[in-house]
Symmetry: C2
Subunit: 226 residues, 2 copies
């Protein structure tokens, strides 16, 4: 049907996006901002985790958040309620943030003095992987309630990321999820990715590596500052 | 940038898809097949639920499954291990099934004698809603571990469906999910959608409406048979 036109246009869209992402990255670097792109399936706990991370990082870094959602401002409201500087991007029918959406916001709003900018992508394990935003670091969340086969079934996003955060680990006793099986799929796809087992809220989990994740992000935050 | 071309092409792709979906639907109707399109975020439990549904329906209906995944055949293998007639579609980088993928399979494989065909879409709460496959009934799963705000945040897929299945309800004591809040969002979007609270496996849940879901699907299955 429309395959050849389709492939060419997809390529063109991705090339345009890459160029704009580069422009965003230059902007971040000039301003001394480290940008983290947080991606996951819907409901893996991105908003909750980012709020907890900012609480842990705010003595060291001035943090801000760009929230990507199809509609509404629920997550931005949650951020503001937690006294976090947050900006909403409504993607409408689009299933991911793209570099032009971020570029527009960067030109409309002031991020002066921001050290770390969290980009919370739309909940989706496929398309966000294809659209660079200008970020320095890509983090993928995988909730243990989603099943340990997800890296195998959605390989692109796990291949491209710098860290995988296994979230909601307090649910491990109640779901069929093998940390070892998930890690083994990840190792095949992306042996260099850091992996953290995390519970973001107050629920107990003996091997909670939240503090290690904070330290890792802090290190990344410092390494990209000018 | 490429917005106008983009919108026109998206429209053309969706129109082409709708036309092919119509062709699939005619094919299903000629063969006396009722097609259910099961959609959800990754890891909401589509495969597990479909296996359990087919066990419950198989005395009444000859069932088959088309599995949509980016890569691999993990779910098709799970189906075959449960003695279910299953066919894999690998979508590659695509984040949803489309009508042409289904049409191709319908022409390659025989679905003779099938009464009910389950189409298990790629795990994604955004794009599958835009691509009709020729199905008679759309079912969206929402795992309670994903949070009760998902219908509000991903409205298109919940607006277009005939039923919503709240899955993994055995996790309710361990997660922050209000059935009432989820139902209230759904009611605003789609007051006619049937809603079922379900645990698909052997875990206990006092208000398990799995049997009601089986009865509802069975009714749909009969109503579209010639």
């Amino acid at each position: 049907m429309h395959n050849i036109l389709d492939i060419h246009l997809t390529q063109k869209i991705l090339e345009d996006n890459d160029q704009l992402a580069l422009h965003n990255r230059e902007h971040f670097d000039e301003e001394g901002i480290t940008a983290f792109n947080f991606m996951s399936a819907p409901g893996a706990g991105k908003t909750t985790l980012i709020i907890e991370l900012i609480k842990a990082l705010k003595n060291q870094f001035a943090c801000a958040v760009i929230e990507g959602d199809m509609v509404g401002e629920l997550d931005t409201k949650r951020m503001k309620d937690a006294d976090i500087n947050a900006f909403q991007i409504s993607t409408g029918k689009a299933c991911h943030l793209d570099a032009s959406m971020v570029a527009r916001l960067l030109h409309e709003q002031s991020f002066d003095g921001t050290d770390i900018l969290f980009l919370e992508n739309v909940g989706n394990l496929v398309c966000p992987a294809e659209f660079a935003l200008g970020e320095h670091v890509n983090v993928v969340l995988l909730s243990v309630s989603e099943g340990d086969d997800k890296p195998f079934k959605y390989p692109v996003i796990f291949q491209k990321c710098d860290a995988v955060v296994l979230t909601k680990c307090d649910l491990l006793p109640h779901v069929d999820f093998s940390i070892e099986r998930a890690k083994s799929f990840l190792k095949d796809l992306n042996p260099d990715a850091a992996v953290f087992e995390v519970v973001a809220g107050k629920r107990p989990y003996s091997n909670n590596q939240f503090d290690q994740l904070v330290a890792w992000l802090s290190e990344k935050g410092k390494s990209f500052q000018k």
